[in-house]
């Protein structure tokens, strides 16, 4: 089934191994190989590969460059907070550490090109050198001259070097104002459902049969495919939930072929996973621990967003409710609601028993609410004596809080009269 990759410049066994390591990506690998040509031939100065996350862009590049033993430098733009790191990495990979040490303290592009030229005149490239830059969309945020210069690097250093940019953003959003050298655009299409099934089934567990595992993958895809097609996420979910899937089998209640019973067992579990692990509300560790416990014991699984309102002190909760009312009720209606029990001062109106005095500790709680991002500051930074705030929580959240302090907020909201 795997089509053979063929190219005259490379050995057949190596290409065979490459094809085995890249399931469902033979077409793209073949295209790349034909563009790269034979190692000693020159290639197009820059190639831009775009596609969704986990569509295999980095994987294909790494496998090709490593298995075929081509000189390359892989740089992730996330790691290169300064260009010096990028230059160092490239010089190190191609010419060794003495070249990298020649770079001055805050090197400019000019220094990099000069050192590169110096060294490549001493050691000219017998094979095409490749510089692979992952997450290339971050290059747009660096100096304006870096991206256009990198695209033309072959011309600037007069060497057989090709830059390959990998990104999930399309090229139209990269183009600088006055234009630049246009790279060759290559698209890595997303995996189809069948291809996802094929790739995910390769992770099969040794003690179970392949058909059993692929029926599990089938069920998993049935639940998650309409929401998420990211291979990495699906693999993670598959790994986490497999033990639960095998549970009835391990307990001896069902056989391997009883797909309906297995489905009935796993489906509510997967639906719960979508609301928690998929959204990163709970960590994978917590999820696995949950699966160990009996169903009766576990109770409600508390996600990350559930934790915030349980731990606020008493007065902070009232401050938050007051802030919500002050933010969302129009000003003139306040008198109607709060004739007897209101304090009014510049910051916001406090709606509680008149026994509560505006002390400094109350004000400090306001700033801690801002840190928790439950309130946001809307006034300018230099207005120290009259800061204005706005409540930044949703209706459900504030209803939950007011329930914990036995305060019926609905009665006080203008929109609900």
């Amino acid at each position: 089934m795997t089509k053979m990759l063929q190219h005259s410049g490379y050995e057949e066994e190596r290409l065979q191994r490459v094809a085995e390591l890249l399931p469902c990506r033979e077409v793209q690998a073949g295209m790349l190989l034909s563009l790269m040509g034979q190692p000693q031939q020159c290639s197009y100065p820059s190639i831009f590969i775009y596609g969704h996350r986990a569509s295999g862009k980095s994987h294909v590049m790494q496998v090709l460059l490593k298995e075929l033993e081509l000189p390359h430098a892989t740089v992730s733009c996330v790691e290169c907070v300064s260009v010096a790191l990028l230059f160092e990495q490239v010089l190190l990979s191609f010419f060794g550490c003495d070249a990298a040490s020649l770079l001055p303290r805050s090197p400019s592009l000019s220094d990099f090109v000069r050192i590169y030229r110096q060294h490549c005149s001493q050691t000219p490239a017998k094979q095409t050198r490749y510089i692979v830059m992952e997450k290339a969309e971050l290059l747009r945020d660096t100096d304006a001259n870096l991206l256009p210069a990198l695209l033309r690097l072959q011309e600037l250093v007069d060497d057989n070097v090709t830059i390959i940019l990998l990104s999930e953003i399309v090229w139209d959003k990269f183009r600088p104002n006055t234009g630049c050298f246009e790279p060759l655009l290559l698209h890595f299409p997303d995996y189809s459902k069948g291809e996802l099934q094929q790739i995910l089934s390769q992770d099969k567990h040794p003690s179970y049969s392949a058909e059993f595992y692929s029926s599990y993958i089938n069920i998993l895809l049935g639940v998650f495919y309409s929401v998420c097609r990211d291979l990495r996420e699906l693999r993670h979910l598959a790994a986490l939930n497999f033990s639960k899937f095998c549970e009835p089998l391990a307990e001896g209640k069902v056989k391997e072929t009883d797909t309906h019973k297995l489905w009935r067992n796993i489906e509510p579990h997967l639906k719960k996973a979508m609301q928690t692990v998929y959204l990163r509300e709970v960590s994978s560790l917590q999820w696995e621990q949950l699966q160990q416990m009996e169903e009766r014991e576990c109770g409600a699984l508390r996600g990350l967003s559930a934790h915030t309102h349980v731990e606020l002190p008493y007065y902070s909760k009232f401050l938050l409710i007051a802030a919500y009312l002050a933010s969302y009720n129009p000003a003139r209606t306040d008198k109607r609601f709060f004739l007897k029990t209101c304090f009014s001062y510049k910051i916001n109106k406090f709606v509680v028993d008149s026994r509560v005095a505006p002390t400094a500790s109350i004000f400090s709680q306001i700033s801690s609410l801002v840190t928790l991002q439950l309130l946001t500051k809307v006034s300018h930074d230099d207005q120290l004596d009259a800061p204005k705030y706005k409540c930044a929580v949703s209706m459900d959240f504030i209803c939950a809080i007011s329930r914990t302090v036995n305060f019926e907020i609905i009665k006080y909201l203008y929109d609900f009269l």
């Binding site: 034909s34 031939q41 020159c42 600037l156 246009e182 655009l185 309409s226 097609r229 509300e281 809307v378």
Partner: protein
């Protein structure tokens, strides 16, 4: 594969193909200089004469080569330099300094580069200069030969000239043009830029020292000339080792250019851009399909290469979205249609989506709000939607206003190609009332 060394010098097919790839790759990727440049003879003559006057007769000059990207400005200059250096005197005397606006982003860096390229680092040593002008004058003075009273002619080539105009006070430009106007030393300043309005960028004092000489590369070939260009670019030179193969290949290229479907494709490319660079990209994609099993370029190769060049990237990305994300995009499209492009937020999109769900009886897409939020954030990460203003901290994420960066027709086209798109989703997209 036996290498038959026959008297008419045949090479095995694999070897021929490798040679073809070598030659054509040099041409398309490394911008190898052709023997003769076509379509720019007048400009070539003009520039050559100008530089000859500097190199041989010691006259100072300045000129700007202006043309859109990929028009062949750098290639023109390189050809002129190659022809110029055929003259003995020019070769003996002329010094060249090549600066690039992308690399030398500062006048200080530029000056260091000039010093380096003139091989005067030792002469300068640790000297400290009061100003840029002093430094430059010192360098030019140091170039004076022993017996001659004037220094050697220097050619300054400034690539991406418009970027030098953004340096502080335009010191480098001012001083270079100043030297070219005064009788200090024979200097030729050649600027290469893609901006037609480059003179507007120069300060008054810099502009007045510039000779206002511009060479424009605004070639406007007709379609037959374009076809001829394609043919010459693909043809092998006469010095190819296997004559029979070379003849077959060139004949194949001729038939290719006469094919009707190929001409249609090339017409499409000609209509979108006439410069060399996009042509080279197209031909490179064709060339990559040539191999031992397919030793010639066929019309199908050109059609496929053209399809790759004209593909819509955003439509490709839409193809890979999940059904939920696609439904959100359709909801945004409906909002755009109803509210004529006003920005929206997640809550509005969710409400629109819920209207669709209410009409169908089954609850297959009834997802929770956080799951929808995650899908929305994924779209934002792909930059298919963008926030209206960048101050993201003030409002909650669900209420931040966004705009859709896709066109109505792009979405409809993507829906047609979407794999296994449910019919009710398609119908929802095509209905006029959301």
């Amino acid at each position: 594969m036996s290498k038959r060394k026959v008297k008419d010098d045949h090479l095995p097919v694999g070897e021929c193909i490798t040679q073809v790839q070598d030659i054509l790759r040099e041409r398309f990727c490394r911008q190898q200089l052709p023997d003769r440049l076509e379509g720019v003879e007048a400009q070539h003559k003009h520039l050559l004469e100008l530089l000859k006057r500097t190199a041989v007769h010691g006259e100072s000059n300045s000129v700007l080569i202006v043309g859109p990207r990929g028009a062949g400005k750098t290639m023109l200059l390189k050809c002129v330099l190659r022809d110029l250096l055929e003259e003995k005197e020019a070769q003996k005397n002329l010094l060249q300094v090549h600066l690039n606006g992308l690399l030398q982003t500062d006048d200080r860096i530029a000056l260091k580069e000039i010093t380096r390229q003139l091989h005067l680092e030792n002469v300068v040593g640790d000297k400290v200069f009061g100003s840029f002008a002093e430094n430059l004058a010192f360098l030019l003075e140091a170039l004076k030969k022993g017996d001659r009273s004037s220094s050697r002619p220097v050619l300054f080539v400034l690539d991406e000239f418009d970027l030098f105009a953004h340096h502080k006070n335009q010191t480098l430009l001012y001083n270079l043009f100043d030297v070219s106007q005064s009788a200090q030393a024979p200097v030729a300043v050649v600027g290469i830029t893609c901006r037609l309005d480059v003179l507007e960028l120069l300060e008054k004092r810099v502009k007045s020292r510039f000779s206002h000489r511009q060479i424009h590369l605004l070639s406007n070939p007709t379609f037959p000339q374009y076809l001829e260009r394609v043919r010459t670019q693909l043809s092998l030179p006469d010095r190819f080792p296997d004559q029979e193969f070379c003849q077959d290949w060139n004949d194949g290229v001729e038939t290719l250019c006469e094919d009707k479907s190929v001409q249609d494709v090339l017409q499409k490319h000609f209509n979108s851009s006439k410069d060399f660079r996009s042509l080279h990209m197209l031909l490179m994609l064709c060339l990559s399909r040539v191999s031992v099993s397919r030793p010639a370029i066929r019309p199908a190769d050109l059609l496929e290469a053209s399809r790759l060049c004209f593909t819509d990237s955003k439509a490709n990305m839409l193809h890979g979205l999940s059904i939920l994300e696609l439904c959100l995009i359709i909801a945004m499209k409906h909002l755009n249609d109803v509210y004529e492009g006003e920005p929206f937020n997640l809550q509005m999109v969710h409400n629109e989506f819920k209207k669709f769900l209410q009409r169908k009886s089954n609850s297959m897409y009834n997802f929770e709000q956080p799951v929808i939020m995650k899908a929305f954030e994924h779209l934002q990460q792909l930059e298919l939607i963008r926030p209206v203003d960048s101050t993201a901290a003030k409002t909650q994420r669900e209420y931040q206003l966004m705009r859709l960066m896709l066109d109505h027709s792009q979405i409809m086209e993507a829906l047609q190609k979407y794999p296994q798109c449910p019919t009710d989703v398609k119908q929802w997209a095509m209905s006029a009332f959301g």
